[in-house]
């Protein structure tokens, strides 16, 4: 099976997020005074071939941990969606 993975990488709590803060500071002027707790991050998408969902998740988490995230400052969340069998999507 081929699975689509989405990895969201965000700064750890306590690490300054000037991007998020700057965006949030601009919001009232745009009429979004009801929005708060803005955090900037990034998102990666990829596909992974695996026997099952659990295996796919392990691989995706491993990749997220080893490369996509710097654990000193960031943490990640992995989300998985099953696609069609390989070759048919």
């Amino acid at each position: 099976m081929r699975f689509a993975a989405r990895v969201e990488v965000r700064l750890r709590p306590g690490i300054a997020d000037p991007e998020g803060v700057t965006i949030e500071r601009a919001l009232p002027a745009l009429g979004f005074d009801d929005v708060c707790e803005v955090r900037a991050g990034r998102c990666f998408r990829f596909e992974v071939d695996a026997a099952d969902g659990a295996m796919a998740r392990r691989r995706a988490e491993d990749l997220a941990h080893r490369l996509l995230t710097n654990p000193v400052i960031e943490r990640s969340e992995v989300e998985l969606i099953a696609l069609a069998p390989v070759g048919e999507h």
Binding site: I15, A16, P18, E19, L67, L68, N70, I73
Partner: protein, 226 residues
Amino acid sequence: MSVRVGVVVFPGTNCEHDTLAALERAGATATLVWHSEERLEGLDAVVLPGGFAHGDYLRPGALARFSPVMGVVARFAAAGGPVLGICNGFQVLTEAGLLPGALVKNRGLRFLCAPARLRVTSARSVLTCDVEEGTELEIPVNHFSGSYVCDARTLAELRDAERVVLRYVENPNGSIDDIAGVTNAQGNVVGLMPHPERASHALLGSTDGMPLLRALVRAAAGVHAA
């Protein structure tokens, strides 16, 4: 025979020639080392220069740390060899786990190329061993992600062991505790965001980087002799 310093070049590195020239002014024989090298034979010190290794894509230094040369750099460092990371090189060293902490985007969210006043706050490193603590130096910074961060415990460790070797007199980027450069526990691996090679010639307006580079070369000479 003079001291031999290797300057590592990743695809996207751009300060290699500048660093090489400044090291030669400091008395070393410097050579470029391509990132795919798996041996560092005959080198007495290694410098990871500034630039944008792998375009700084993903995170600065995140891809470079997987280059073959980094395995040997780690072994060289473990054996006590002097290793210096300048700017992007510092970022690579933190990503590779050879130095603690990380470098994140500047507080101002913009690239910053400007002279910075630094204070030498510890002489316990191969980069600062010849410079008196408290000395002020003017050396340019040139980075987008130069704000040093680490957790409270790491910071306490760094302070207690006098491993913060350089601090900004006026913090330009939001670095925690005004940190501009740190070293490892043994003092042989050092990373700093300012560019000492850019303060290596009177024509450039400052020669304040030279005492640091000369110290590195002298420390490497010790390795060379041993």
